[in-house]
């Protein structure tokens, strides 16, 4: 159980680092969504299913979509 927790936290850290250091905004947003999904899995593993449901719906679903809608108004790197 503890090993599983540490593995999940490792993936969480990796996705967060990817979200910060990638050059493509869309990749960054997807990494952020993955981050939220893993955080919700962590909440579930730590016996907080209430928070996990909310995090999965809002963090991974709605906020990712809102970021993508915002990025639509920018130019992608290849098009510059």
């Amino acid at each position: 159980m503890i090993i599983l927790l540490y593995l999940v936290i490792l993936v969480l850290l990796m996705s967060a680092i990817c979200a910060i250091f990638t050059k493509d905004l869309l990749v960054s947003v997807v990494a952020l969504g993955v981050n939220s999904l893993i955080v919700s899995a962590l909440f579930f593993l730590m016996h907080a299913p209430d928070v996990a449901i909310t995090e999965a719906a809002i963090g991974a679903g709605l906020s990712t979509a809102i970021y993508v809608f915002a990025i639509r108004h920018t130019k992608r790197q290849e098009e510059k």
Binding site: P49, D50, A52, I53, T54, A57, I58, G61, L62, A65, I66, F69, R72, H73
Partner: protein
């Protein structure tokens, strides 16, 4: 014509704000419970459900007592609560099986009203700021996405409704249920380019839900002398018809949050419709 309307509207808003401010400061400087009995004196702590849950589930009262050299079963009176049997125990103070709900909606229901108001105001601000922005057109979704989103939408809606109707029995509640419903509408908005979200209807539904929340609170004020007090009998723990007004308020919150979040997402997406 427009200017007079604007001035009238501003005047009404100013009057409301001033009235609210007067009430607020009056409440601040009023001595509480002057000449009255504090309501805390009338509370029977043994009927408080959440206390037992907190001691049992989170802090693990038995281990806690054992580490202090006492057995949990011989020293039950140290845990100030009565025994809970699912489907049998009756007439607790709030009586919802999910103790998070009993705290969020019952003990600090006024906070929840404030949270819902914050969400409402933020969605209004978002609509005003970003509502009319025109962006690039989205790529047409493929056949699989179109069919899949049309097929999945009713199930997502049903799951959201299940989450907020069973908020007092299982994990979840109004806010997660509303978010799930909003993500279902988001799927429909992304998957079907012919789908047009009816923002007016959702705003009406949202306002009516908010009004229902406040009127439930007012009924509590008139029936039990306290805003948002539980005026319905709490019933048997673990049943669908239990926990009094907690279930009612969570249904209202679920509808309100779902309508609000889907309005926000639809307004953000609809920028490209008139492209």
């Amino acid at each position: 014509m427009k200017k007079t309307e604007f001035i009238t509207g501003s005047f009404i808003a100013l009057t409301l704000v001033v009235l609210l401010g007067v009430f607020f400061f009056q409440a601040l400087f009023q001595p509480l419970y002057e000449g009255k009995v504090m309501p805390v004196d009338n509370v029977n702590l043994k009927n408080r459900l959440s206390l037992h849950y907190v001691l049992k589930n989170v802090h693990n009262a038995s281990k806690y007592l054992a580490s202090h050299g006492k057995s949990y079963f011989n020293n039950r009176e140290l845990v100030p609560s009565r025994k809970i049997t699912f489907g049998e125990s009756k007439n607790f103070e709030e009586g919802s099986a999910n103790e998070v709900t009993s705290i969020v909606v019952n003990y600090r229901g006024f906070d929840t009203l404030g949270e819902v108001t914050v969400l409402f105001i933020s969605i209004i601000g978002l609509t005003m700021l970003i509502g009319g922005v025109v962006g690039k057109k989205l790529r047409q979704p493929s056949l699989i996405v179109r069919t899949g989103s049309r097929f999945l939408f009713p199930f997502i809606l049903l799951f959201g409704i299940y989450i907020f109707i069973h908020g007092h029995l299982t994990p979840g509640g109004g806010f997660p249920g509303g978010a799930v419903i909003a993500s279902g509408f988001l799927l429909l908005l992304l998957g079907l380019e012919s789908y047009k979200f009816n923002t007016t209807a959702s705003k009406i539904v949202e306002s009516l839900a908010g009004l229902t929340f406040v009127s439930i609170g007012l009924v509590g004020l008139f029936a039990k002398n306290s805003f948002l007090a539980n005026f319905i009998p709490t019933g048997t723990i673990g049943f669908l018809y239990s926990a009094g007004m907690v279930a009612l308020i969570y249904i209202v919150i679920g509808i309100k949050v779902g309508a609000e979040l889907s309005t926000g997402v639809a307004e953000l997406k609809e920028g490209d419709e008139n492209d």
